[in-house]
Amino acid sequence: MTPWLLNIVQALLLISLAPLSAAVLKKMKARLQNRRGPGLLQSYRDLGKLFGKEPILPEGASWIFRLAPYIIFAATALACAIVPVLLVQTPLSAAADVITLVGLFALARFFTALGAMDIGTAFGGMGASREMTFSALAEPAMLMGVFVVSMAAESTNLSTMIHTMLNGHFGLRPSLAFALAALLLVAIAETGRIPVDNPSTHLELTMVHEAMILEYSGRYLALIEWANQMKLLLFMTLLLNLFCPWGIAEEKTAPALLFAAELLAFKSVFLLGLLALLETWMAKMRIFRLPEYLGTAFLIAILGMLTHYILEGTA
C-alpha cells in the first residue's frame, strides 16, 4: 500500500506546486525585465478567484465545451501521476509507459481543440488549426526523443528508464545528447512558451494556445490554466529526471525522499531561471518559421535514433 500512497502523494505534490512554479517563472522574468512582478502566491489567488466566479457559457455551446476542461485536467493530472518525481519505482508508471504519457498529452490537446471548435468563432478555429498543426510536428519529435532513451534503457517504462540513466555506466552516448536537444525544443513548443507561443498575448495574429481557450471563463478556465501550469512543471520534471536524475530517491526512506525533493526543487528553479532568461532574451517566432523549428527537433530526434542504432546497438 505504501508505494501507491507515495505515488499519489508525489502526484498531488506536483499538481499543487504547479501554480507556484508558474509564479516563480513570472517573478524571475519580471526581475530580469526590471519589474517587481506579482507575488509568489498570485497564481493561487488567480485560480481561487476563477473557481469562485460564475462561469459564462457562450450561447450555442454544446456539452463538449463543458466536458473538455475536465478531460484536459484529468489527463494532465494522470500524466503527473505517471512520471516518477521523487521516487524511481512507482506503481503507476508501470500502468502507463512513456507512449501512454504522450498519448495523454494528445488526448488533452484533442479536447482543448474540440472545445475551441465548439462555438464556431474564427478565433477558436484558428487556434485549433494552429495548435493541431504544430503538435502534429511536435508530437512525433517528442516520441522519437523519448524513444532514444527507451532504446538505451531497453524499456518504455519511465521508472526503468530513469533507473538505467541513474545507474548505467555508459561511456559516451552521443544519442542521448540528440535526444536531450530534441526534447528541449519540443518542451518549449508543447508548453507554449516563447519563442514558440506567447502565453501572455491576446493579439489575434500571434495567439495559438490562448486563442483556443478565449471563450472559457470561471471554473472551466481555472481547470485549463491549472492543467497548463501542471504541464510546464511536468515537462521540467520529466526532462530533469530523465537526463539529470542524480539525487532521486531509490528507496522509500524519509531522508532520501526529502533530499530528492530539495534537489529537484533546486534543479527546477535553475531550469525555470534558464527559461526566464530565454523568454526575456528572445522574441516570439513568426508562425510560419515554426515548422522549421519543429522539423529541426524531429530531425534531431531521428538522428539520435540512428546514432543509437549505428554506434550503440547491442546486437
Binding site: 473557481f51 484529468a74 465548439d118 512525433p140 535514433m305
Partner: protein
Amino acid sequence: MFFEMNEGIMSPSVIMLSGPALALFVCVASLALSKAKEIRNRITYLLIAISGAFTTAAGVMGLLSPPQQLLLPLGLPWLPMHLRLDPLAGFFMVVIGLLVTSVGIYSVGYLRSRAKTQNLTLLDISMSLFIVGMQGVVLADDAYTFMIFWELMSVASYFFVIFDHEREANRKAGFLYLLMAHLGALLILSSFSILYAAGKSFEFEVMRNVHLSSTWLSLVFLTAGLGFGLKAGIIPLHIWLPEAHPVAPSNASALMSGVMIKVAVFGFLRVIWDLVGLDQAQGWWGGLVLAAGSSSAVGGVLLALQQHNLKRLLAYHSVENIGIIAIGLGLAMIFAHFGQGDLAALGLVAALYHTLNHALFKGLLFMGAGAILHATHHRNLDHLGGLIRRMPVTAVLFLIGCISISALPPFNGFVSEWLTFQAALMAPKLENSPLAALIPFSAAMLALAGALTATCFIKVFGIIFQGTPRTSAVATAHEVNGWMLSGMALPALLCLILGISPVWVIPLIDQVSPTLLASNLERSLTGSHWLWLTPLSPERASYSPLIVLLTSLLAGLAAFLLHRRGKPVRHAPVWSCGHPDLNPRMQYTATSFSQPLRRIFSTIYQPHEEVSRLDHGNPLLVKRIRFSVHIQDLAWNLLYLPVKRTVEWLTRGTDWLQRRQIHGHLSLVFVTLLILLGFLI
C-alpha cells in the same frame, strides 16, 4: 471440445458454412419478396446481420480449435472445392462477421426510405454475393476457389460503385475500380501460376511444400504483393480507392473500406506467409513491405487532410491505416528474417489488432458519414456544421470513432499503435544492417501519421458537428432512426472494449502466430496478469488501460468536486469584438483549418490556388471575393498519367492493323496460323 459434444446440427462444418449460406440465401429472399418492398428490406438485411453473427462464431471456433477441412463437390470435375478454417481464416472471419452484423443492422434503417421508391434488388444481391465472396476467399484452400471468390468479391463490389449510375463520375469511378481490380487479380493469378507450375496442383496443401529457386520466389512475392497491394490500397497503388469508396452507398462503403481491403491483407498473409512461408523469405521483402507501409501511412493521412468530401477523406484514411498494418507486417517479416520469432509474433499481433480495430472504427465512421448524408444530403464538410445539437447520438458515436482512429487512450487505436511501437523499439536487438536501420524511420513515420490523424479528425468533428450550421438543410436535420444508431453503436462499443481489454483479446489473436511463424507470444501469456498488458516482459513495457481509465475518471471527478456546487452558469452571446452580428459563414472552414499544413507540405500537395475579386472601383471596397484551391495526388501525375500516355502511344502504333477490309483481317489470321504452325514443326 464443446463443439464435438453433439455432432450433427452443431458440427464444425455446419458452423463454418452457416454464415456464407445465410448470406447466399439473401439473394433468394430478396428475389422472392420483390413485391413487398419494405418487408423485403427488413428481412434481407436482418438475415445479413444474422449471417454476420454466425460468421463471427465460426471465426472464434477457427481461432480456438484445430484446423477444420471440408470438401464441397462444387467447381471443376477434377477439382472439388477445398475449404479450410484455420486460426488465420478464423481471425478474418471474426473481422468480417463483426462488421457485417453492424452494417446489416444499420442498413435496415439506412435503406428504409430508399426501398420505398427505388428497386434495390441489385444492391441486395450484390451485397449478399460480396459477403459470400469475402468469406469464400478467407475459407478457400485451393487457388481455384480462392480466385473464384476473389473475383466474386471484386465484381459484386463494382455494382456498389456504380449503384448511382446516373452520374457520370460514378461510372468513371466504377471503370477505374474494375480496371484496377482486374489488374490486381491478374497479378495474383500469376503468383498462383508460379506456385502451380512448381507443384502441379491447385491445392494449398501442395503449394505449401513446393520448392522454388529464390528468383521465382521473389517473383511470387512481387506479383502477390502488387496484386494484394492494389486491392489494399497501398501507395502508389491506392488511386482507385478515393474514387470508388465515396460513391458507393454508405453501408457498402463501410464494408468495402472496413473489410474488403482487409481481405487483401489476408490474401497477402495466406500467400506469402503461409504458402511460401517466411522461412523461405528474403530479407528485402520485409524491408519493402515496411517502406511501402510507411509511405502509405504518411501519404494517406497527408492527402486525407486536404479533402472536403467526408467519404473521400475517410477513404484516404483507409490508405493510411493499411499503411500502419503493413508497418506491423513489415516489422514482423524483418524480425522473422533475423530469426527473432517472438518479436515477429509481436509485429504480427500488432498488425492483426490494428486490422480488427480499423475494421471497427472505419466501419463506424463510414456509417456515421452515411447518417450525416442521410440526414442532410450534404457530403461536403464546408456545408455542414452544428450537427451535435441536431443529431446528438450520432455525434457521440462519431466522436468515439474519431478518438479511436486518432489513437488516443483509452480507445482501441491506441493499443495497436502502442504494440507497433513496442515492436519497432526492438530494432537494436537485430544485427546491424541497412535493413534494420529502416525501422527507426518507419517508427518516426508512424508517429507522424498518428499525430496528423488527430489533426484531421479535429477538423472533421469540429467542422461537421460543432459551430453553427452552414446551410439550411443542416439546420433542420433530424437524428437518424434506431436501426442506424444501433448499427453504429455496436462497433463503437467494441472500440471501447478492445481499448480496455487488450489482455483478453491478444491471446485470441495470438492463436494465429503459430500457424504462420512457428512461435508466438507465449512468454508474455504466462507472465501476464489480467490487469497488465506486457507484450514482451514487465521490465520492458507495460500498459494497463483499466487503471488509466479509472484513474483519469477519478481525477475528472475530483476536478468536478473541486468547485462549490450550486454555482449557476450564465449563458451569454459570444463576444464578437463589437461586430454587430456573426453569421455562420464567418466560421473557420475545413479549407482554412488545413491551410497551415497545406503551406508546410506544399511540395507534396502542389496546391493550385485561385482568388478572384470584384470591387467597387477601389481595391479596399470589396464586393465579392472567391477563393478556390485544388491539390494534387502526386501518384496520378508521376505514375499513372505517364503509363496512360505510353499505353495510348502503343495502341496508336498498332492502329494500322485495325483499319483494314475483311480480306486484310483474313490474311492476318492466315499469317498468324502459319507462324504458329511453324512453331509446331
